[in-house]
Amino acid sequence: MPDETRTIKTDYLARVEGEGGMLIRLKGKEIEEVKLNIFEPPRFFEAFLRGRYFTEAPDITARICGICPVAYQMAASHSMEKVIGATIDPQVNALRRLLYCGEWIESHSLHVYMLHAPDFLGYPSAIEIAADAPEVVEKALRLKKIGNHIMCVVGGREIHPINVKVGGFYSTPTKAELEKLVPDLEWALAMSEETVKWANTLDFPDFEQDYVYLALDADGAYPIEGGDRFVTSSGINAPIDEFYEHVVEEHVEHANALQGHLKGVGPYLTGPAARYALHYDLLSDRAKAAAEGIGLPKVVNNPFKSILVRSVELVEACDEALRIIREYEQPAEPTVAVEPRAGAACGASEAPRGTLCHRYEIDDKGIILDATITPPTAQNQPQIEADLRGFVGKFMDLPNDELTLRCEQAIRNYDPCISCATHFLNLEIERSE
């Protein structure tokens, strides 16, 4: 039946942050429609920020996401510090990078083991893995907890850290306090290396895309907590203040998150695969060795192999955290003085799932006049749809159930954060009186 209409649909995607669904409509061998539905609440945060004092932006925007609050705090702080012309102590910057490593360890370990692995292993969720292989899940949880712990020590608490401010921190840890993290981090580093090898035993669909990659450029370091420039594989190398000259955000009817496109290029990819492809040479020796150990090429165009790249970044985050602690000297002052100055600037950081850009305009009293926040998932959404289109085109002969699962997996390749999730439970209760 060549004209038979097939619909591949998932109303509520599980194992992603936020609220999203997927719809793919096929007519015979033709793909009629591919939609990633994002019901993210309109980004009321941008409106909410107007009229607030500039130093409030890191704490307010951190509430956007329970899984990457540090990304928001850093992007907001960088942006404000640029507007007011604050210079940050290098050790304070190092601490910010350490805090961010904690977020990467937490987020990547959660995604690799608890959210993405079930797709590859044929389990509905990590709960069933826990029943069959509790030791794997216990190790994953320990790894995640070590990331959380870094965030507690540097950020004051693990979720929505309270210690970050425009200008630096409210207080800084002593070297001895950080050194207590070392034994756990050494375990985490070894476990991350094991994770790379384990992830390489998974089966990957034979599927590659011709990606345009975008990531921050952190002036000689693997981009994590920030970067004054951004680069793309299409040849852009520009100051972050020119981000919105290259990236345009469009509203589409089926999603209330804006979708990002590169002008003159179209969809692009941001996230682990982009950072890895654009900055492979800046990875630590341990991370490179882990990648080489499994024969991972320097550019990974199979989106399902993002789990391998994420695992390599786990090695990078653990190794980098250990280096920062080794070289740390507690700064004389946790912060520099911050005085308002009228102006506008962009600031960005590399959230676990990709580049997060903020732009603020403030007046001479420090009041926010305008705010724009471009999260990585909004940027990746057109590319996710392009992946779905490509994947369904190649594998449309699969039975519906399997194709649906594979398409969900294709979305989870991006570790999407359809942010500002509600936390309520959809509860079905059946009881007889």
């Binding site: 509520y12 599980a14 194992r15 992603v16 942050e17 936020g18 609220e19 609440p41 309109p42 009321f44 909410f48 509430r63 329970g66 899984i67 959660l110 995604h111 608890m114 959210l115 969720s125 990590a126 709960i127 069933e128 826990a130 029943a131 509790p134 899940v137 216990e138 949880l141 995640k144 907890k145 959380n148 693990e158 979720i159 929505h160 500002c420 999730a421 509600t422 936390h423 309520f424 439970l425 959809n426 509860l427 079905e428 209760i429 059946e430």
Partner: protein
């Protein structure tokens, strides 16, 4: 007995904040020896929070077909959280997931109770709906009684 009370939710999303509000009220109401945690965290870390506890009592907003403000009580050691709970999750790793994961890993405390308050609206930036706000004192009272009974059992 070490007891942990957890109120969870999202303070920016209408009735989803009810668990947090209940926890805030319970912190005033309960003896100091009882730890009360109000958290908007990604929830798999809750397992670490209740490690070593003899009892955990969790309060969160729920969404079923009951009237707004209805209080559901689930004994987690006696009942499995319905699977639809997990499917409807909007979390990276939700409370329902965490409870079931803890069960699989044998990490649920001997006493583990869940209190769900039926919500009505979850729009960004809204306060609690009237029916849900009205139910807060009742849920606080119910949990306080449970805690008292647990303490008396010691």
């Amino acid at each position: 007995m070490k007891i942990l009370v957890v109120g969870t939710g999202n303070s920016w999303r209408g009735d989803d904040a009810v668990g947090l509000e209940a926890a805030t009220a319970l912190r005033e109401r309960l003896p100091q020896a009882v730890r009360v945690l109000a958290t908007e965290a990604e929830q798999s870390s809750l397992m670490d929070e209740w490690e070593g506890c003899g009892a955990v009592l969790i309060v969160d907003a729920v969404h079923s077909s009951a009237a707004p403000g209805t209080i559901h009580r689930v004994d987690l050691n006696a009942e499995v959280v319905p699977h639809a709970v997990l499917k409807g999750s909007t979390h990276h790793f939700s409370l329902g997931d965490t409870i079931e994961l803890a069960r699989a890993l044998k990490r649920l405390p001997a006493t583990a109770l869940f209190f769900g308050i039926e919500g009505a609206r979850y729009a960004p930036g809204e306060p609690l709906s009237p029916a849900v706000a009205t139910s807060v004192p009742a849920i606080v009272e119910e949990i306080a009684k449970e805690v008292e009974a647990l303490l008396n059992r010691d």
